[in-house]
């Protein structure tokens, strides 16, 4: 399941490359201008991605001292 680690690349694409495609104020999503909404959404998704990577990572099951 080591390939799941590659999910970690997605936040970089979303937050470093992504803004080039979403640099706009509309549509407003949940009261936020679009660019800000995009960033906030990706912070939430990033946390979820890290949780998935954590769950799949055998290193966390070995109870490291």
């Amino acid at each position: 399941m080591r390939s799941i680690r590659w999910l970690a690349v997605i936040p970089f694409l979303a937050l470093v490359v992504g803004p080039f495609f979403v640099n706009r104020a509309t549509p407003v999503i949940l009261d936020l201008p679009f660019l800000l909404a995009w960033i906030v959404a990706w912070i939430l998704i990033t946390s979820a991605i890290m949780a998935v990577i954590y769950a799949a990572d055998p290193a966390n099951r070995r109870d490291e001292p």
Binding site: D31, I49, M50
Partner: protein, 488 residues
């Protein structure tokens, strides 16, 4: 004494009390004092990392940036998130190596990996040059906060001195334990106060967050998107990338990893910390709310936006509570910086010239250095002029120069030699200094495409660093190659 001042004073005393109590029942050896006996669980490590990350810069600077510049402030949200993603993979091997080799500082890491005390001295010097201005920034912020939130009853000079004495006292006694304990109060306060402000102010002045952004869009079209030139998309992306790499290179952040009792503690934090980042969203809301309500602040005064609006909106006791929060955002990171700087001087500069010194002597010296470092920072806070501001702007770029040789050293076979690492760091730091001090930027080169002109100039320093590292490593590697080939 007004109501606000009572609350701010109470906060300062609370910090002092927590800071002292933290040392109870522990013998403060160097290992306890500087890395908490490597026994901190997920919550304490979280508190330390959150404690260092949410500084006066986030509180005053974050809201000020949104107030003054709008969308470019979003970069602060992005780089932290990406740094946490990196941390999941990068920090556990660092932690393990530090535990196995009983390391105390970031500089120790380089000493061991590259088997070179001289490289350790270089890293320690870069660290200290970056840390002192960062401490000065905290003290400066503290002074501003107490002066405004106390309605001018206490001058910033008095506030800076009091803050410095408090933080130096509890760092001497409790070390990193003091930072962790005061972090508890700080994070509860900041969570409560900032989220409240970020929601209340937009509703109070605009009737909601959506209508606030609508009002801003009408008054300042394009304020919530990145501009076409200057702090443009290219600036944004390069800055996010660069600061994400430099994030854990801050020596006090780096050393706080050592306090973890296990690698899973660090990995768990990589899940939670991005969410915690979202506090910044509310800081931005405050800045955005202020932009139409207390207009006219320019230059470095944009950092006053949060307090100007608060004083205009709330009763003194509540302004005092905000002030108390601000005081904690200065003291907690200040304590980490102070302890780290003292450890670096004692453990990596003093010990380099006097290798016979044992841990007990180094611990004693580090504790004695704490008030001295604080004094130096107070001096620069009160007397330092433009130099300190210049250093401050360079600090982040300086520590980022440690990234290439650090990451390469994590590989099973390190390509970089100690000469290469040292040369790369020196070249990178020199580039940062020359570029920053001469005020050069890519905008002067009119023939470049505007996308390239907007790139964060730190990228160039990192590139120079990397090229020098490779070239020097190749050159110095050839000398040893015959014997290493023979050994295989």
């Amino acid at each position: 004494m007004n109501g606000a001042l009572v609350i701010i004073a109470a906060a300062a005393l609370l910090a002092l009390a927590l800071g002292f109590l933290a040392s109870r029942g522990k013998e403060m050896t160097l290992e306890q004092w500087t890395v908490g006996g490597r026994g901190f669980g997920a919550i304490f490590v979280f508190l330390l990392l959150a404690g260092e990350i949410y500084t006066t810069f986030t509180f005053l600077g974050g809201s000020g940036y949104a107030y003054g510049k709008g969308a470019p402030a979003y970069y602060i949200l992005c780089y932290g998130t990406l740094a946490y993603v990196l941390s999941y993979f990068m920090l556990p091997p660092i932690w393990r190596y530090a535990r196995d080799n009983r390391l105390y500082s970031q500089s120790d890491f380089f000493v061991r990996k590259y088997d070179s005390p001289a490289l350790g001295v270089l890293v320690a010097l870069v660290d200290i040059v970056a840390l002192i201005p960062y401490l000065v920034l905290q003290f400066k912020g503290l002074g501003i906060i107490v002066e405004i939130a106390g309605y001018g009853a206490i001058s910033s000079t008095v506030a800076v001195w009091s803050g410095a004495i408090i933080v130096a006292a509890y760092v001497m006694v409790s070390g990193v334990h003091g930072s962790a304990w005061t972090s508890v109060a700080k994070d509860s306060l900041i969570l409560g106060v900032v989220v409240f402000l970020g929601i209340y102010l937009p509703y109070h002045y605009y009737g909601g967050i959506g209508s606030m952004f609508a009002a801003i869009e009408q008054a300042k079209p394009g304020f919530t998107v990145l501009p076409a030139h200057g702090e443009s998309l290219w600036w944004f992306s390069s800055t996010v990338l660069l600061t994400a790499l430099g994030f854990y290179m801050w020596p006090h952040t780096f050393a706080s990893i050592y306090t973890a009792k296990g690698a899973t503690v660090i990995r768990k934090n990589a899940i939670v910390l991005p969410l915690y980042q979202l506090i910044l969203l509310f800081v931005f809301f405050v800045g955005f709310a202020a932009t139409l309500q207390v207009p006219g602040l320019t230059g470095s005064n944009i950092d006053l936006a949060l307090f100007k609006l608060s004083v205009k909106t709330f009763d003194p006791w509540f302004v005092g509570l905000i002030g108390a929060t601000g005081v904690f955002t200065a003291l907690v990171p200040g304590s980490m910086i102070l302890m780290t700087a003292a450890t670096l001087i004692a453990n990596n500069l003093y010990r380099a010239v006097n290798p016979a010194a044992d841990d007990r002597q180094v611990a004693k010296l580090a504790k004695l250095l704490v008030p001295l470092v604080a004094l130096v920072a107070v001096f620069f806070t009160l007397k330092g002029g433009d130099t300190i501001v210049a250093l401050l702007l360079m600090g982040y770029s300086f520590v980022t120069q440690l990234f290439p040789s650090l990451v390469l050293s994590l590989a099973r076979r390190n390509f970089a030699t100690r000469e290469g690492a040292a040369a790369g760091i020196i070249a990178g730091v020199a580039t940062v200094a020359v570029v920053s001090l001469s005020g050069a930027n890519l905008h002067a080169l009119k023939w470049l495409p505007s996308a390239v002109q907007d790139l964060n100039i730190g990228i160039i320093a990192l590139a120079v660093n990397f090229v020098v590292l490779i070239v020097v490593s190749l050159a110095t590697r050839q000398v040893v190659q015959p014997s290493s080939v023979a050994a295989e």
